[in-house]
Structures are given as structure tokens and as C-alpha cells.
């Protein structure tokens, strides 16, 4: 057989039938649902009298709309409440396993899936949410779909899909102190652009990727969609298997060993050919932050705001001018030192226990700067409980951070956690689009440690200052 990539192997293993012009019926192992992109799909099933083919391959959570404060009261906002209640009615009617708002396992769908062992290596995993790419860190083919496709999976447990192109991003070497998975991924997006991965599935490879823990791999795969890719993948290895072992819904004992033997075959063949290859040296990557309103507008924290006049393409120059205006930034100024109003540590990109530990390391014994509002929103109830067991909640509360319940929160501001017009935020989320965190809000994407550094200094700051690796301003 011809040499195949990891993507090719997972794909081939899930093809039910090849139709005309490369379109395949692709089998889906796991279908994750949340309250925002599922109501119309359930409605579609009901209208056509179709059944949900495999409730036991489906899981639902509430995350996008939910308040991150007191959960003992009903949701105040009537439309958010209706969406949550609609999901609850649907899961009852169709028999879908569901983690309700009050359950300790509730959280962001992309945190809950891996944490519960619902997302496993070699699977095809879909969800009506673009950041489904996160689960690719498990070595699974995981991608976001629209609501019509959600309905298609519900009714058939399959999707009509064409194979993607193969791209490999290799990061070799060892990153310096203070440089995290988030910085690696921002560097990759800065390099290839937000459309760089369009039509591709990206496999992340190289020693710097292998060295990452699962949380870091999830951060990387999560933002594959920001590079335009359909999905991101990291080949499963011992780090993966150690993570999976013992998770509530993972196979146990002999079944685990059997599964693991199969998972070990899931690597790209040595002579497989990729349509596109990109190489980065880990040593070149520094803590990064975005300055514009697209995730590709990345700057090293020691960089200066770029000049639109330096753009060759007039359309690009116009786009930069508009961004600078929206972001309220001046050409030629250092990005470090830019004052922030809000700090948001959370989202499916960076809300796992490892992320909170790294933020706590900076927050410990310091105080949130005067006039800054800083929120910590754990990715799931279990992450929150773990952090509390480690005393991280005390670290944050003593420093003046808000310690909240799990959910999407200020990543997209569908619940009351929103920026107001003109507010500037250092955020560990994945999108800095205009108005993403609230109409008129200004977002700077960065790592949890960098966000914590911004909280305690009141401005975008090189986190390496605290370890003496970089010089203070």
C-alpha cells in the first residue's frame, strides 16, 4: 500500500462508501452537541420524523450561553434560558447523554470531551462548533460542522465529505522559558496566515510538539481553525495514552490494551508526502501577542506596531489602517506597555488545569493592577475543583482576580461576560475579531502566563520579565 499520512489512515478507516467525484460517506464515531448550534437540527429531525441513530455516540453540554456566576438560580436572560431549556427538552426526547449546568462535569464542550475520555485517538469526532479541531490533539480527526450537518450526523451517523489536503507543520527544538503552546501556535498562524491552512488538515509534528503535554497539544489543535485548516492532528503517543488511561468513558483493562495496540498504528508513514510543509525553529519563538483584529496579526511581545505604509498590497494596507483605528493603537509604538482594562483567562484554548497553574505562577503574591478587571473562567467544573484542591483559587482571589464557574464566557460574550466599547482585553481565547468579546471591545490574544502578567502590571508585558529572562520596561 502507498505510504499514508495519519490523516489518510483515519480517513480510510471511516469511509463507508465512495460516491461520485471523491465525495465519501464518512462514519462519525462521536458527536458532541451544545445549546447554540443544535436546536434547529433537532427540529429538523422532528419535522421529518427521523430518529437519532446513535444516542450512545452522542453527548450534549451547555456552555456558550451559561452564566459563570451563581448556578442556583434560573438563567436570567430569557433567550439564553430558552436555548438551554430547548436543549434539555431535546436530550430528554431523543435520549442523549447530557451534562447539565449543575453537574460537576459541566464545562466547555472541547474541554469536557477529552477530560471524560469521550474523545479518543483514531476517532472521527464532530460538533457544531469550529473549535472541534481541539480534539485532534488526541490523534483523532475532529472538525466543526454546520447545523445542517449536525442534523445529518444525528440521522445517519455519517457525513458527506471530500478528503482534505495534507499539511505538516514541524516545530523542531526547544522553546525558551516563558514560551508556551499558545506562543507556538500564534507564531504558526502569524507565519501561514488565517487562510494558510484552507482545505487542509494540519498534522503538527517535530520535537517541540512531542514535548508538549496534552493541554498544550489541545491549545495548538484548537487554533488550527484560526489558520484556516479544517482540523489539526497530533499523532498519539505515550503522552496521549497516559492521559486517556482511567478517564471515565475510556476503554478499561483489556479493552484499553486492545485499543492502544490499534492507536499505536496511527502515525504518518516515513515516506508519506504532504501537499504542504512548513518548518519552524522553536528557538525563534518568543511570547507573542496579537495587535489587530485577525489572529494572523501576531507580534513578538518586544515588537512595535506595524506601519501600513510598509505593506505592498494596498488592500492589506487599508485593512491594517482600519484595524489600527479599531484597536486604538499607534504605528511605531511598542506593543509592550499598552494599557489593558480587562484580562480574561479561559476558553477552550486555555482553560485547563495546566493553563491555570501557569497563570497562578505569575499571580502568586502579586496584585491585579488598579483599574483592571481580571477574570478566571475554568474550562469545566472538574478543572475548577482540581484548581481549588491545589489552592489556586486562593492565589487568584488574594491577587484580586474573579474566580468563576465554567463556560465560554468572555470568549464570545453570549452570556453577560462582555467587553464594553473601547475596552482593551488581554485574552487567552482564540479570536480577536471586531466585537467578538463584546461590541467595540479590543482583544489581544496571548498565553495564560502573559495574560496574568498583563493583569498584575496593568499593561501588555513580557512575562519573561518576572523570571529575569527579559528586561523590565
Amino acid at each position: 500500500m502507498a505510504a499514508r499520512t495519519l490523516f489518510d489512515k483515519i480517513w480510510d478507516d471511516h469511509v463507508v462508501e465512495r460516491l461520485e467525484d471523491e465525495t465519501c460517506i464518512l462514519y462519525i464515531d462521536r458527536h458532541l452537541l451544545h445549546e447554540v448550534t443544535s436546536p434547529q437540527a433537532f427540529e429538523g429531525l422532528r419535522m421529518t420524523g427521523r430518529r437519532l441513530r446513535h444516542p450512545e455516540a452522542t453527548v450534549a453540554v451547555v456552555d456558550h450561553n451559561v452564566p459563570t456566576t451563581d448556578r442556583s438560580q434560573p438563567i436570567e436572560e430569557p433567550q439564553s434560558r430558552l436555548q438551554v431549556e430547548t436543549l434539555e427538552r431535546n436530550v430528554r426526547e431523543f435520549g442523549v447523554p447530557y451534562f447539565p449546568l449543575q453537574s460537576p462535569q459541566q464545562g466547555i464542550v472541547h474541554v469536557v470531551g477529552p477530560e471524560q475520555g469521550i474523545s479518543l485517538p483514531g476517532m472521527t469526532i464532530v460538533c457544531g462548533d469550529s473549535h472541534t479541531s481541539t480534539h485532534g490533539a488526541m490523534g483523532s480527526l475532529a472538525f466543526g460542522i454546520g447545523t445542517s450537518e449536525v442534523e445529518h450526523v444525528m440521522a445517519t451517523q455519517t457525513l458527506l465529505q471530500k478528503p482534505a489536503k495534507n499539511m505538516r507543520v514541524t516545530v523542531e527544538g526547544q522553546v525558551g522559558p516563558g514560551v508556551t503552546a499558545k506562543d507556538i501556535m500564534l507564531a504558526i498562524i502569524g507565519r501561514i496566515g488565517t487562510a494558510g491552512g484552507t482545505g487542509h488538515v494540519i498534522e503538527f509534528a517535530g520535537s517541540a510538539i512531542r514535548a508538549l503535554d496534552m493541554a498544550g497539544r489541545m491549545t495548538i489543535c484548537n487554533m488550527s481553525i484560526e489558520a484556516g485548516a479544517r482540523a489539526g492532528l497530533v499523532a498519539p503517543d505515550d503522552t496521549t495514552f497516559d492521559y486517556v488511561r482511567g478517564r471515565p468513558f475510556a476503554p478499561k483493562d483489556d479493552a484499553f490494551e486492545l485499543a492502544c495496540a490499534y492507536w499505536r498504528t496511527l502515525t504518518t508513514d516515513a515516506d508519506a508526502v504532504f501537499d504542504t510543509e512548513v518548518f519552524l525553529r522553536a528557538e525563534d519563538i518568543v511570547p507573542n501577542v496579537t495587535w489587530g483584529t485577525s489572529p494572523e496579526d501576531v507580534l513578538p511581545i518586544d515588537g512595535v506596531i506595524p506601519d501600513p505604509e510598509s505593506c505592498d498590497d494596498p488592500a492589506q494596507a487599508a485593512a491594517w489602517r482600519r484595524m489600527l483605528d479599531y484597536m486604538g493603537l499607534k504605528v511605531g509604538e511598542k506593543i509592550a506597555g499598552t494599557k489593558v482594562d480587562v484580562v480574561f483567562i479561559g476558553s477552550c484554548t486555555n482553560s485547563r488545569i495546566e493553563d491555570l497553574r501557569s497563570a497562578a505562577d505569575i499571580a502568586r503574591g502579586r496584585k491585579v493592577a488598579e483599574g483592571v478587571r481580571a477574570l478566571i473562567v475554568p474550562g469545566s467544573g472538574l478543572v475548577k475543583a482540581q484548581a481549588e484542591a491545589e489552592g489556586l483559587d486562593r492565589v487568584f482571589l488574594d491577587a484580586g482576580f474573579e474566580w468563576r464557574e465554567a463556560g465560554c464566557s468572555m470568549c464570545l460574550g453570549m452570556n453577560p461576560d462582555r467587553l464594553t466599547a473601547g475596552q482593551r482585553c488581554a485574552s487567552t481565547s482564540n479570536r480577536n475579531f471586531e466585537g467578538r468579546q463584546g461590541p467595540g471591545g479590543r482583544t489581544h490574544l496571548c498565553s495564560p502566563a502573559m495574560a496574568a502578567a498583563a493583569a498584575v502590571t496593568g499593561c501588555l508585558t513580557d512575562v519573561r520579565v518576572f523570571s529575569g529572562v527579559a528586561e523590565a520596561l
Partner: protein, 210 residues
């Protein structure tokens, strides 16, 4: 799904790259549990000021573009979130066709499921169509999916490519689920094979976990 065969309509120019789905329909409007009614919120941030009044300078607030059924735009249209609310909002506004040099994958897919035709054409051709789209009352294009051409106001025909399967589904207004269910036998056969090959594959039943 509504069929798409040919369309002659006003084309609105949106000469920006990376128009993301948060711009097409901001998150605060995703709380609906229906597919319809989102048209009035399409491009809300650009279309309305803080008091909810229309901004006269936004293209879709001007005649004849209020009635645009075609959008001409630049690279990476529809990037960002997978929300199908984006094509629903466009459709509810009246848009049936978007022309751009490139589209984000999920958005591109979502269009076909809703009877919207996304057409990918090289940047130079989009530039020419962009200037057609600025001709106000004369900014009318014809999109003929059967012949796979866009007809410019001066009569010039520009061929485009779309994959035959999707073209067929759109022209006939077919539902993919019904089509896939015709392969029910193959799906069941795959499932029994999978049960043999991957006996470890867990079923998710609450109470069986932790």
C-alpha cells in the same frame, strides 16, 4: 431546500478580505432556536449604530443594494465560527450567491446546505465584478448554475467551476440526508464490521462513566 438554477440580481460590493462569521452575524443574535428571522441582524455591527439606527454609509443600507441577492467580496469570506446562522442570516436578507477569490471551508459547505451558491473566482476577476457591483442601479449580474457562468452587465460571460455533486444537489434542491439514507444498508454493514474490528469502542451511557 430552495433550488438554485439561475439568478439575475443586484450585486453588492464588499471589498474586504477575511469577512468573518462574527461580522456576518454577531454572537448575541445566535440565541434563536429557529433558522429564519436573522436577516435584519446580518452585518449588524456595520449596519446599525449604537442606537440601532441604520448607518447610511454601509453598502446594504443604500439603494439598490438593500435588495442585493449577490455579494462580491474578497479572500477568506466566512472565516471563523462554524455558525450556520451566517448563511441563514444572508439567506433571510435575500442573498443567494456570494462571489469571492476564496472561502473558509465550513462556511462554504454551509452555503450549499441552504441553497446559497458560493462561487470561487480568481482575484482579478473578482476585481472586475467588484467594479460592476459599484454601478448602482446597473450593478446586476446573472448567475447561471446550469451553464456555470456569471454574466456581467456588458454581456461578458465568466465561467466558474463547482463540484458536480454539489451542483446537482443545488439544481434539484435535494436533501442530503435523504440521499445518504439510501445507503442505509452500507452504513449498517460498516457498523457491524466496526463492532468486530473495534470491540473496545465505548458506548456513552451516563452512569456507566465515573
Amino acid at each position: 431546500m430552495q433550488k438554485f438554477t439561475t439568478l439575475t440580481a443586484v450585486a453588492a460590493p464588499m471589498p474586504n478580505e477575511n469577512i468573518d462569521t462574527d461580522q456576518i452575524i454577531p454572537a448575541r443574535f445566535l440565541k434563536t432556536i429557529q433558522r429564519t428571522g436573522l436577516g435584519k441582524f446580518a452585518f449588524a455591527a456595520q449596519r446599525y449604530d449604537a442606537d440601532g439606527q441604520e448607518r447610511p454609509d454601509f453598502v446594504l443600507n443604500r439603494e439598490p443594494y438593500r435588495h442585493a441577492e449577490i455579494l462580491v467580496t474578497y479572500d477568506n469570506f466566512g472565516c471563523g465560527s462554524s455558525r450556520e446562522h451566517a448563511p441563514w442570516a444572508l439567506l433571510d436578507f435575500g442573498v443567494r450567491c456570494v462571489i469571492a477569490p476564496s472561502f473558509a471551508d465550513i462556511f462554504y459547505n454551509n452555503c450549499f446546505k441552504n441553497g446559497i451558491l458560493p462561487i470561487q473566482l480568481p482575484r482579478e476577476i473578482c476585481d472586475a465584478l467588484m467594479s460592476d457591483a459599484t454601478m448602482g442601479a446597473n450593478a446586476r449580474l446573472t448567475v447561471d448554475l446550469e451553464r456555470q457562468v456569471v454574466v456581467r452587465p456588458d454581456g461578458e460571460e465568466i465561467p466558474f467551476v463547482v463540484d458536480p455533486f454539489r451542483r446537482h444537489m443545488l439544481i434539484e434542491g435535494l436533501d442530503d440526508i435523504a440521499l445518504t439514507l439510501r445507503h442505509e444498508g452500507d452504513i449498517s454493514a460498516y457498523e457491524s464490521e466496526r463492532a468486530k474490528e473495534k470491540p473496545w469502542m465505548p458506548k456513552i451511557v451516563l452512569g456507566s462513566g465515573s
